[in-house]
Amino acid sequence: MATPTPTAIRDGLRSIVGDRMSTTPPDRTAYARDLWPRTQLDRLVGDPPERPLAVVWPTSPEEVAAIVRLCAAQRVPIVPFGAGSGVCGGARAVPGGIVVDLKRLKRIRRIDRAAMVVEVEAGFVGERFERTLERHGLTLGHFPSSILCSTVGGWVAARSAGQCSSRYGKIEDMVVDLEVVTGDGRIRRTARAGGLDWNPIFTGSEGTLGLITAATLRVHAQPAARAFRGWRMPSVAAGLEVMRRTMQAGLRPAVMRMYDSLDTLLVGSKDDAKGGQLGRLKAIFAGTGQVDALKQRATRAALASPRLLNFAVDRLPDTALLVTVTEGSEAEARRTDEAIADYALAVGALDLGEQPGRAWMAHRYDVSYKQSKLYRAGAFVDTFEVATTWDGIQPLYHAVRRAVSAEVLVMAHFSHVYPGGCSIYFTFAGTGRDPADMRRRYARVWQQALDATVARGAAIAHHHGAGLSRRSHMPATHGEAARWFAALKAACDPAGILNPGKLFAPDDIPRAEGGR
């Protein structure tokens, strides 16, 4: 088949969506990437992401299906796009492909109070969705830090977790039914499915098996009461013990979040600061005055000696701040708070009262998205979340710290707590001689952190997805399961156009035998 010309593709798209498409350079540049920090370094090195041929804004699943059929016929890659807040490159444009922005699929189709489910289109932005539910006395219970700039479809596609995942679960626990456009251009509903359980297959598939156009999600009544608390733990180990005992007793706190020594120092020193550690670092590099310039130079100089910094961090007192939020009926919120208090006091923790919990709640979405100034000023930051079972948490924490401490300053908090374990959310910051050196160092840090995680048998992510940043370690994580992915891909995306290259590198996908 002859390669279609960009003009032919654009004409075809225009026949489906009319003027709701763009081929202008600003739009194509804006949609070439998500918030993967590595992109900043690529740009500084002069290696920016490839721009898509076009960006389209369909308004219905039927239009999405028509776009998929057109692209499948012409072998044009499609990258689905929500609000672009992904940090793993999952929505990075593919050469010769188009971007399908789903944000105009933004209707709530149904609120069923009897069944406590809501059917919502994929492009609905999270914060607006939650506010809409609140007007009905409901909540999804899904509050990712990115809630202001992420969509329901993105949550499902990337297997997102909200800050209250210990109570409400991750997004996969909320999915009742999905509407998906598969690579053959058919609109399918998973609730009527057969043969396989399709919800857990499309959830987390990052647009590689189908474009999620709507989801039916479980919702809950707004909590009638909340209780906040902060605890000064005598050690990280003691805090982990409290978290574990709480969850294994069948309790469901909304939030249990514990900061390691350095993170505790930073949070404790300025608990009203916006944006956490990343925000503070970004704020330093966003300033333009003379004082800011001095701060920037000092910070860069410090980051140039990560070994020394981490050595100092290792000698901080082993205390940890544990923040808890419990909610539900008044009785449940109180019952859970009191049970946590029993466990905390038993390990010698100090009750800090409500303030730490309330402060955390007030700034829970204070994430700074201004990356470029920091990177241009010669520093880089990123986050890296992993998860494992309780007996592996501390060894994993130390293993990752050890693996990257020669390259970057690293700190962490422990959150997303479940009966079986929890996640560790690392933040790292570094610098380099020049952009190319920074990019090499950044790549080494990721490689070393992922190697250390795989070596401990832990999960290489918790809720950011895989995209491009973790695909190198997907074969090691999943082993022969890559063959399942190949089979799913062959069945759901026979033309191979759906977000190709994401999750698994093409060379890591075994050849499927019988796919049509």
């Binding site: 043969g195 019952r335 309780w390 374990g421 290489i460 999943h478 022969e480 399942w484 035998e513």
Partner: protein
């Protein structure tokens, strides 16, 4: 006398054959990929060939007996995780865990005596436990053999990257590979238990009361709604910390509904017929299960013997003690699943 005799197969190794098919019994999961490659149309079985229902294995060229893959490989009480080979039965596993003061949570009696691989391959087994969740909620990782090798799933409290590969073989009738071993969530055995039974005039009232319990954050360890004479009975079992306060809160909640409380012992006796206890026999209920929507009364209308499990606001698992019309699967999806199985070289031809 058995028609099965021991022989040596050129590719499968030692086994037994009746002249038409082979029976092999691997002792290690890592032997399975090679077996699947050489086995032609295979079927997993549990036990010697003389004891297996002929209809089940009619088309198979090779019977792969995984009953020797029954080791409990490790128990991590701190993490609440057990790693067990999939030929182990639920009963054997729960017995082993019980010796260590651990439990899977309530084990429905019809899982007793059945191997983990068999029940998972047949579909996600329902379990009526708001506190401990469904059986698949506790499935932290699953490994399967494919002709090219073994899959690998990092043990994590939640799935993290990509589709939940560990769910692909669940309900796939071994057509997406042969389940070899799983990591399951286990819990400390709680020292105390309490039971409650309340009878209501109809399904709607019983459902409303049960959902109010959930909404209040009370999580029964087990519950069951069922028709009892002309009423609907809600039976519940509780465990966990602060049991007295849970019970107190529960009684206050249920007092707001027009129900009639029975002695707790009635619920305890009924629970004993539905949940496995050490020394208990197999199930007395032959049931089919299907998922109903929120209109519970409509879903069970006209069905004489019915039990409702896994009740959530959006629906429930309905167990009917007779052949009942479960909703047929969507043809287009079934076709897509067939394409997935076909794309799995070897497995498409084999495990079915």
């Amino acid at each position: 006398m058995s028609a099965w005799r021991f022989e040596r197969h050129p590719r499968l190794g030692s086994g037994r054959t009746d002249g038409r098919r082979w029976w092999v019994r691997p002792g290690r999961p890592d032997a399975l990929p090679g077996l699947l490659t050489a086995a032609g149309r295979w079927r997993p079985v549990y036990g010697p060939p003389d004891e297996i229902d002929g209809a089940v294995i009619a088309d198979a060229e090779t019977l792969i007996d995984i009953s020797a893959l029954d080791a409990v490989r490790s128990v991590a009480p701190e993490s609440g995780v057990v790693h067990v080979e999939a030929g182990c039965t639920w009963e054997a596993l729960e017995t082993t865990l019980g010796r260590r003061g651990l439990t899977l949570g309530p084990v429905p009696r019809w899982l007793v005596g059945r191997p983990i691989a068999e029940t998972l391959a047949a579909g996600p087994p329902a379990r009526p436990s708001p506190r401990y969740g469904d059986v698949t909620d506790g499935l932290l990782a699953l490994r399967a053999a494919l002709p090219g090798g073994l899959t690998n799933c990092a043990v994590s409290p939640r799935r993290a990257t990509g589709p939940d590969f560990g769910r692909i073989p669940v309900g796939a009738d071994h057509r997406a590979g042969l389940i070899t071993d799983v990591h399951l969530r286990v819990w400390p055995v709680e020292p105390g238990r309490a039971w409650r039974r309340v009878r209501f005039a109809g399904w709607a009232e019983a459902r409303a009361a049960a959902l109010a319990v959930l909404a209040d954050g009370i999580r029964p360890a087990w519950w069951c709604l069922r028709r009892a004479l002309r009423q609907v009975s809600l039976d519940m079992q509780f465990d966990g910390p602060r049991l007295d306060r849970q019970a107190e809160r529960l009684d206050a909640l249920l007092a707001g509904f027009d129900g009639q409380a029975d002695p707790p012992e009635a619920a305890e006796r009924f629970a004993d017929t539905r949940l496995w206890r050490p020394g208990a026999g197999p199930t007395v209920l032959s049931a089919v299960q299907h998922v109903a929507g929120p209109d519970l009364a409509g879903a069970v209308e006209g069905i004489p013997r019915v039990e409702v499990w896994d009740l959530r606001p959006e629906g429930a698992t309905v167990h009917v003690a007779r052949e009942a019309a479960a909703p047929p699967p969507d043809g287009a999806w079934a076709d897509l699943a067939e394409r997935v199985f076909a794309a799995l070289d070897g497995a498409g031809e084999g495990g079915r």
